[in-house]
Symmetry: C2
Subunit: 336 residues, 2 copies
């Protein structure tokens, strides 16, 4: 049976269950308004490792093993790890997979990786190709900054449209059966490019793709923003979120009070991150802590989560290319 | 119904069909013993673009549109593009997806990406989550060499264990129904690391992962190498292939005359590529030309294809890390 509804959305017949979620964040994120929701807060952002890259990998490994523990499983119960990250050749994910020793599907969707992994994982579970999968991603301020922008030691001034890459990782365990919240729909996004070429304005680069995916989801499922208790985007930040609301209004969808963005939630305004947080770890840590706990408590019954990615690369930027965006969305309904 | 057989293998209940394959290669590869099988051979390896990165992307775009044409489809018939490549942030794939404007799942599995995409695509189609998907990847000698090793202008001497990154791209269209060869099984690989740290010995880095995946496939399906008309690996090259045969013998499986490696097939010995070809484009171009045509002609009835990836990154190497490998395998049976 084909599970496609409309043009771009998949409706799962046996909704995969969210068995657990685990979030680990850095010290700065630990001072955020959401701090009480995180499973683990680093005391130092090198996580007692020699390099920030090794620290990022250690966070990701802890997120994966933490989520497996919280689901009362063993690592051998996991059929497939789906993971990716921002570092060249997704080394955080690949080396975490070396540690875990399950089958591994490496993904790259920039900061959209959390929902990309969940959507692919849900397809694999719903189709009966796996029983339990782990979906995980990470980012680290210091590894991303020095890979994509400037050496940390340079102490560059940050422009007002910039965002702060979240030091954090998150992992969700999806299961074919058992208890947990249900992933009922997934909408894979398209790569959309409105010609933004400013490495320090990721929100504007991602907003058109976010609007495209959300518009497709609403259309395909014949719903509107008010049908959901929460619509949460990954890391559009303040500017990107405003652009998303504007763009969706052009498509005929009015976003309301139920809309929020992980990038805006993860830092308080006094933390001077300008437009807010970004990075794979942004939506990964917020979804796997605050969002899941609000589903647990019954504050939310039906929500949309959508991580958003800016497909920025120094290799393409050096060739004069613009920065396209992508966003993948999932509908989650509270489980019993 | 759970489709898992054994520990690591998926048996598809409605085997996804290979609707078409398209292969495009560079001028050097056009001189290979397989040249008559390729759909398109570049006259110059810059493909009339200003940079090799843009040339690689153009090849990938042509492979995707060529495969869609050969399947008598329109690009709007494709539900999802699954693609990745070797370049940082998989820019060849992301920017090709921007061109195609279908839903996009970005993957990274180094040179294992062709069978990674096919295996994920097959799960998605078999589960009913899509009707038609395009699985594609590319590599380019000049983009890979300068990203992973040395500037081209330096003219470095190549050590005898080195391989030559294939300039090429391939795309396979998978379909839920219609005619075509059947993907009956998929085995997702694990990340295996035997401690190789030589950027110029990819074959040795990948062989342990290749042996692990193949051993799992044989065990899970209760078959032996002699049950297949062809077992073809991605780009182990001469040394890596010999290591694979040795390692499998330790596991109790004797490889025979039916075993070959795309990396060894794609260049003639007079082309001085030492151990043979490598890169995502190696298995992508050989599988989507020679291998599919031998299934078409009936020379092969039941085969295993397995692309192999070395998870090498300058970021991890600079931190003293070794090079783990991964390999994903598929069983294909000739269609009517």
């Amino acid at each position: 049976m084909i599970k496609k509804v409309g043009e771009n959305t998949i409706k799962f017949t046996l909704p995969p269950k969210i068995a657990s979620g685990y979030a680990i964040v850095g010290p700065k994120e630990g001072l955020s308004p959401l701090s009480s929701y995180f499973d683990y807060i680093l005391k130092n952002d090198a996580f007692n490792e020699k390099t920030y890259e090794k620290a990022e990998r250690k966070m990701l490994e802890q997120a994966i093993s933490g989520a497996i523990d919280k689901a009362n499983l063993l690592s051998t119960d996991i059929d497939i790890l789906l993971s990716g990250d921002l570092l060249n050749q997704i080394i955080s994910a690949s080396f975490s997979a070396r540690q875990l020793q399950t089958s591994f599907i490496g993904l790259f969707g920039a900061c959209s990786t959390m929902t990309e992994a969940l959507a692919v994982g849900a397809c694999i579970i719903d189709g009966g190709c796996a029983d339990k999968v782990a979906c995980a991603t990470s980012s680290h301020f210091s590894t991303a900054e020095r890979q994509f922008r400037y050496p940390l030691e340079l102490g560059c001034q940050r422009p007002p449209t910039s965002q702060w890459t979240v030091t954090g990782a998150g992992c969700t365990i999806l299961s074919r059966d058992g208890e947990g919240h249900n992933i009922t729909h997934a909408t894979f996004g398209r790569v959309i490019d409105y010609g933004i070429n400013d490495m320090n304005n990721m929100g504007a680069a991602m907003a058109p793709a976010a609007a495209d995916t959300l518009k497709n989801l609403f259309k395909d499922t014949n719903t509107t923003p008010s049908d959901y208790d929460l619509i949460v985007t990954g890391d559009l930040g303040k500017l990107g979120s405003e652009l998303l609301v504007d763009l969706l209004e052009n498509y005929g969808y009015k976003m309301g009070e139920n809309y929020c963005d992980c990038g805006q939630m993860i830092y308080s305004s006094s933390q001077r991150t300008f437009m807010g947080g970004s990075g794979c770890g942004c939506s990964a840590s917020v979804i796997n802590s605050y969002v899941l706990s609000k589903l647990d408590s019954g504050d939310y019954k039906k929500i949309i989560i959508m991580s958003t990615g800016a497909l920025v690369s120094t290799t393409s930027t050096q060739q004069g290319e613009t920065i396209p965006g992508i966003a993948h969305a999932l509908v989650i309904e509270k489980g019993k």
